[in-house]
């Protein structure tokens, strides 16, 4: 009889799903989006992806070494932040801007709070917004896609949402003709951040996460649903001025935001009701910022604002314990 017996509190078996395995799955799910980005924007996009990811990993190592904490880059969370940051940057982002973003995301967005699990805000979005406010020129210099092999160079242009906002600001009405088609937007043939261009690729990845049960429908469905309903209402009121809901869906960062940024587990509520409130809140804020705010795109701001509300939402959406009435007390 061996003397080496494990003694522990029950349960004695585990699902086998670990934090690194969850993070790896999220990374795999981003492969299609990264592939499409590299196809449309070429080497510049690839270099942004690499610099952001390596920058995040390096920053995590430096921070943890400085704080004399165990280095945990193997858990994959810093790599995800890096990839998501890259997907939230323009393909023409200069190397120093990308690197700065990586340092901000991990150092300011995550490690100062205590690392994985402790950050209130989505680290990649913190970095994106800091960069957007500090370097508006570089962060809003968009390029039309130049697919690999097409021989085209990246040419500066406006995003569909930017195009619309400019026209509305100047004329008070929709632009007479947009540069792209809805189908083209959906596939990714539009100017924008590296990761927001192809709704199709993002949905493919999200499908995999649904299959792995890492993603639940609650936040993405309520977020997208709220944007469709609210933008639809404005479109019905004044179709000459406001774009239709499909335009809202396929342009800009809504799909990236709803399926990848607003579903970051750490910074979103844990109860089902909380998730639904979070999704609706993101949707309302996104539409309001897009239609009435100073920026053409509102996804990042909307999610960060709702991140800030998450502890409050969690506080007030405690699930009803089995065997109790909803307002406390017993059944």
């Amino acid at each position: 009889m061996s003397q080496q017996l494990y003694l522990s509190s029950s349960p004695h078996v585990h699902s086998g799903e670990t934090t690194p395995s969850v993070m790896r799955a999220v990374l795999y799910s981003l492969v299609p989006a990264c592939g499409v980005a590299v196809y449309f924007f070429g080497i510049p996009a690839l270099s942004v992806l690499l610099i952001a990811t390596l920058g995040c990993l390096a920053t995590e190592v430096v921070c943890q070494r400085l704080m004399r904490q165990p280095v945990t880059i193997a858990d994959g969370s810093a790599a995800i932040t890096g990839v998501l940051l890259a997907l939230n940057l323009p393909p023409t982002s200069p190397w120093w801007l990308t690197l700065l973003g990586a340092v901000i995301a991990i150092a300011v967005g995550k490690q100062v709070y205590g690392g994985l699990g402790s950050n209130p805000f989505n680290p990649a979005l913190v970095a994106r917004v800091v960069l957007l406010i500090s370097f508006p020129v570089q962060m809003t210099t968009w390029s039309a896609p130049a697919p690999l092999g097409s021989g085209l160079d990246l040419v500066t242009t406006a995003t569909p949402l930017g195009e619309w906002k400019n026209a509305v600001m100047l004329t008070g009405a929709m632009p007479a003709e947009m540069q792209g088609s809805m189908a083209g937007y959906f596939l990714g043939n539009m100017p924008g951040c590296i990761g927001e261009v192809s709704a199709l690729a993002l949905l493919l990845g999200a499908g995999y996460l649904f299959y792995r049960r890492i993603l639940t429908w609650h936040i993405p469905a309520t977020y997208v649903g709220t944007v469709v309903l609210l933008s639809g209402a404005f479109w019905l009121i004044n179709p000459a001025k406001y774009p239709n809901p499909v335009f809202h869906l396929v342009t800009g960062g809504l799909v990236l935001g709803a399926f990848y940024m607003a579903t970051d587990m750490v910074t979103t509520p844990v109860s089902i009701r909380g998730m639904l409130i979070f999704g609706v809140g993101c949707g309302v804020l996104t539409v309001l910022i897009r239609l009435f705010g100073g920026y053409p795109e509102g996804v990042s701001f909307a999610i960060l604002l709702m991140n800030a509300a998450t502890p409050l939402i969690d506080r007030y959406t405690k699930p009803r314990t089995f065997g109790t009435a909803r307002q406390g007390g017993s059944v």
Partner: protein
């Protein structure tokens, strides 16, 4: 038709295929039986025999002390060789009566057949108490206590638990298949006591043979066989009641608060023996299984047999076990060695190899909410655990720690391998300690 169930829960691999098809085998008697005087919640019984005395099978060797207590009986005939502290499944050595079997295995002459029709309800309950019948599902709560609800709590539904949702365990399954008459006789006896309007036997749908057999045998009787969705912890009392009746046992309450009484199917069989034959609870079916066991079996064991004897009867070990568990893998108790005896609540002996054991390092909570969605009590395990870890007693209580049934679903799904159940247990103990102090 969609099967009834509860909200939340998990789907661990059930691993019942090792033993679900294997008929119950009688476990041969060992050279020594160690019968603990404490086998369940409530006061331990007190030895009423002396060293050197000869005892008959079924003779009382420990007397009950108090209402929530039952007597303990000799599991075979033989000589009492010691009354001393011996290793016990609860972890620390506890008083036990050690019997050296004489090989006769002869029943006490005091035990006799009774016609249950001649008994009043109270006489029947007294017979159950005298026979030391306890809940056979694991917690081993004395059955006679449950059978005596106060008059202001009438029981309209009598529910039998044949769910057996713990992975690996098949003892109740085999009981329903091989001993269905004893089970159904017990169901009828308990129904006689309660006089409930509805009698239900809940069985998880992964035991279609047991469902079919009992349905056939209950074709005439007013007993409803209810197949339930395969999901852990479907057999937890509150979850089973919800699935069968749609009612929630109130927080801090008991099944009788919603007019329900629940007994395990194997308990029903023990009631039959107690009432009809006067035979006390000295044996039970125990599933001896796990990847470290050579020949997993369903054994009919005597209370007091050592785990090492059970392992020997099952062909020994494939390799050194990494963990010895009495009960199932979700709620069973780890043991410090194989020299521990089986007790009335021992539904299974599970031996895991080192590689089967969940022991990935604990990481920070990533707030993935899997525990919240898995919790069958609709709690926020990660929040309770975080408060409990910091000994924030008020917050632990505010987040309903006391409602936790410790089923282990949250720990099972936690990707950060946080010992949620262990932390919540710690928190519950702190809440109880605070309440005790408040009373002083």
């Amino acid at each position: 038709m969609k099967l009834r169930t509860f909200k939340g829960g998990i789907h661990p691999p059930d691993n019942k295929h090792w033993t679900s098809h294997k008929a119950i085998e009688d476990c041969p008697l060992p050279d020594e039986l160690v019968v603990p005087l404490s086998q369940h919640i409530g006061a331990p019984s007190v030895a009423c025999v002396e060293v050197g005395q000869h005892v008959a099978k079924g003779q009382e060797i420990g007397s009950a002390k108090g209402f929530v207590s039952v007597p303990v009986h000799a599991s075979t005939s033989g000589e009492v060789v010691a009354i001393e502290n011996r290793p016990h499944p609860f972890g620390t050595p506890l008083p036990a009566v050690v019997i050296k079997p004489d090989g006769e295995d002869s029943w006490s002459s005091n035990l006799q057949f009774t016609d249950p029709g001649s008994l009043t309800s109270d006489e029947l309950i007294e017979k159950v108490r005298q026979a030391g019948v306890v809940g056979m599902g694991g917690a081993a709560f004395p059955a006679h206590v449950k059978m005596s609800p106060p008059p202001e709590k009438p029981i309209h539904t009598l529910l039998f638990n044949g769910v057996e949702c713990e992975p690996y365990l098949t003892s109740d399954h085999r009981m329903m298949l091989e001993e269905s008459e004893r089970v159904l006789q017990g169901v009828a006896l308990l129904q006689y006591v309660y006089g409930a309007e509805r009698v239900v036997i809940g069985i998880e749908a992964n035991k279609p043979d047991a469902i079919a057999l009992l349905k056939k045998q209950c074709a005439d009787a007013a007993v409803e066989i209810l197949p339930l969705q395969v999901k852990y912890p479907q057999g937890a009392e509150k979850q089973l009641i919800f699935a069968a009746t749609g009612r929630e046992v109130p927080s801090g309450g008991l099944p009788m608060d919603v007019g329900v009484a629940v007994h395990n199917v194997s308990t029903a069989a023990a009631v039959t023996d107690a009432v009809m034959l006067g035979r006390p609870l000295i044996e039970r079916v125990c599933t001896v299984t796990g990847p470290a066991i050579k020949e997993p079996k369903n054994l009919r064991i005597r209370i007091g047999m050592s785990l090492s004897h059970l392992v020997e009867v099952c062909g020994g070990l494939v390799e050194e076990p990494g963990k010895i568990i009495l009960g199932g893998p979700m709620m069973g108790f780890t043991q410090v060695g194989l020299d521990v005896p089986v007790i009335r609540g021992s539904s299974g002996l599970l031996l895991l190899r080192e590689e089967d054991i969940a022991n990935s390092p604990e990481g920070p909570c990533i707030r993935c909410a899997r525990c919240v969605q898995a919790c069958p009590m609709n709690l926020m395990p990660t929040t309770i655990a975080a408060y409990a870890r910091r000994d924030l007693v008020e917050e632990t209580e505010e987040y309903c720690a006391m409602d936790c049934i410790e089923c282990g679903s949250c720990s099972y799904v936690c990707p950060a391998s946080i010992p949620l159940v262990q932390l919540i247990r710690h928190g519950k103990a702190a809440v109880l300690a605070k309440k005790r102090n408040a009373l002083l």
